[in-house]
């Protein structure tokens, strides 16, 4: 039975499922990473995703314009990011608690709007699969890597771009400085509040896209509470990935592939109880997290309020 897992169909299935499941995590985690690198922990990702997911779905349903739907999700994510930044940067509210507040807001609001504006579960025509010219034709490889919708490619493209911005640009340097030593950054004329506003709003935008990747690209439907905790996994993945884009990519892929693997284990009837199978991705992630030798150190000023002295 176990040997059934080594067939080409299964391996292709696991990798392509894994890539699809990874997509929302990448958007949400990379966005969250920028916020955390500047010192703001946003636990409201799940709420931003839910609202982004609904708005993208609704705008697409009404206008049949996917890009408009995506833009609307980015907008609503940005607004929620703006509110989060205001509450934590200006009002100095505890980041953890405010994040939970925004999560509840996003969940309640998306549900309310869904009932008032849509009323029943409906489908929508979302982003279609694009086969990359030439590459998409390669047997096996093409099927696994080059036959996805636009948002999947965007998510994976985001990883090196985020790495570049964070490590090779002045903006990235400012973000890191604000997250490590805001007093020093401030004394050098970097606006701590400005940078934190920027990263938290950016995080909201990416969370909005993460939600949209579910409702108008991967699933093409909206259902209440459909993110099912993915926003919280996304926050965990930032820690798992040691606040580095490629670390996050690795963590997201590991979690998603094991999730895909456990589905195959159940489908092939390998005698492992379903309850145990669904726990596999969580257990493995925890194991890797505890056993990994190079334990990353988080940004020093993470969750700390910055107040200018004097």
């Amino acid at each position: 039975m176990i040997s059934d897992l080594l067939s080409a169909t299964v391996i292709i299935g696991i990798i392509s499922s894994g890539i699809r499941l990874t997509t929302p995590y990448l958007f949400a985690s990379i966005g969250e990473m920028f916020g955390q690198r500047s010192g703001v922990l946003n636990l409201g990702v799940e709420g931003q995703m839910l609202l982004g997911s609904f708005v993208a779905f609704y705008v697409t349903l009404k206008t049949s314009n996917l890009w408009l739907g995506l833009l609307a999700a980015m907008g609503v994510g940005a607004l929620m990011g703006l509110a989060m930044a205001f509450v934590t940067v200006n009002l100095h509210a505890t980041q953890g608690i405010s994040g939970i507040g925004f999560y509840l807001f996003g969940m309640g609001m998306s549900n309310l709007l869904f009932q008032k504006l849509v009323g029943t579960v409906e489908g929508v025509r979302g982003f279609q699969k694009i086969s990359v010219p030439l590459l998409g034709k390669i047997p096996v490889i093409g099927e696994i890597f080059f036959n996805h919708n636009a948002l999947v490619y965007l998510a994976f493209l985001l990883v090196p771009v985020a790495w570049f911005v964070l490590n090779k640009t002045t903006l990235g340097l400012k973000i890191r400085a604000v997250g490590e030593n805001p007093e020093a950054a401030d004394s050098l004329g970097v606006s701590v509040a400005g940078i934190r506003y920027l990263t938290v709003i950016m995080g909201g935008v990416f969370s909005g896209i993460a939600g949209a990747s579910l409702s108008v690209a991967l699933l093409n439907v909206f259902q209440q509470n459909m993110t099912a905790g993915q926003g919280f996994i996304a926050v965990a993945l930032v820690y798992f990935g040691s606040w580095k884009p490629f670390g996050i990519l690795g963590g997201a892929l590991l979690f998603s592939m094991v999730n895909a693997l456990q589905l195959w284990i159940q489908v092939l009837g390998i005698p492992i109880p379903a309850e145990l199978a669904v726990m596999m991705p969580y257990i493995l992630t925890l194991l890797v997290l505890t056993l990994s030798v190079s334990k990353g150190r988080g940004p020093s000023a993470l969750t700390k309020v910055f107040e200018r002295e004097g």
Partner: protein, 336 residues
Amino acid sequence: MKKVFTLVSVLLVVAMFLGACAQTPEAESPATGGETSEPLRIAVVSPSSINDLAFTQSISDALIVLKAEMGDDLEYAFTENMFVVDDAAAAIRDYATKGYDIVIAHGSQYGSSVQEIAPDFPETVFAWGTTVDTFGLPNVHAYEAASDQGGYVNGVMAGMLTKSKIIGVVGPIETGDAKLYVDGFVAGVKSVDPSIDVRVTYIGSFSDVALAAEAATTHIAAGADILTGSAQMVVGAIGKAEEAGLYWFGTQANQNAFAPKTVVASQVYHWEVILREIISLHAAGIMGGHTFSATLQNGGQVITINPEIELSEEIKTKVEEVIAGINDGSIVIPKP
């Protein structure tokens, strides 16, 4: 000053969230006009939302039917999204305090809450589902759906339609109504041809639409040509069946219109059948102690075949035979 401002704004934000979460859109305004008799007042507390195309929608639809029948003689209130059991308990107690005649706790997870609250309100009828346990309390009814019956009928159709002889099931958590449906479905398929491979996956969640969709994709990649599943997260799986041009069998609420070329038939719950019995018992002064089951025979569940899908006469006849057989007891659905 700043601290106060912070506190106030945080509180305002939180209050807004709670307002958004705990709204009761189905609250009916009291009957007006020259009514002499008091209307019957029913309240429902349910875990997901009234348009989930599954469990909560089924009870909401039942109340809409009753309201249409009874008009001003019925007044009802609905509190949805009570997935947190403590919140549900507060809502149940609140309705009882407000003097509702019948309080329906529509979720098997609400059992201990009902057990605790019911003795405090001997004048209120509590109906709890889906279960068979009334705790021996004089004012508690229990109700359940014999969802294995509809599952069996769906399974028979699926067994006759499959060409690849592989059928995939996307389940939430292996418990309660979902497990009963899945077990009945598997038995139905096997009654047609024991060699058909029915593969069951449980994804460990009632809400993870993405994982349900991947489970469906996995079944399809592994050769399944017919799929079914239970609970509100299956909408993702139905979408994948639709994309692949395969058939789906639905349960809990009517999913036929959601994917008209894909959903062959849905097992639809008609809780109004059971609620009518509870209402007439209440009128006769009987407050509890009964256990009800929504079956094909009493009309508490109905197999609704999608008219958009063309089924052969052979299948249609077989469905009628099987339903008749379940009703007269000549078909006994085996328990796994």
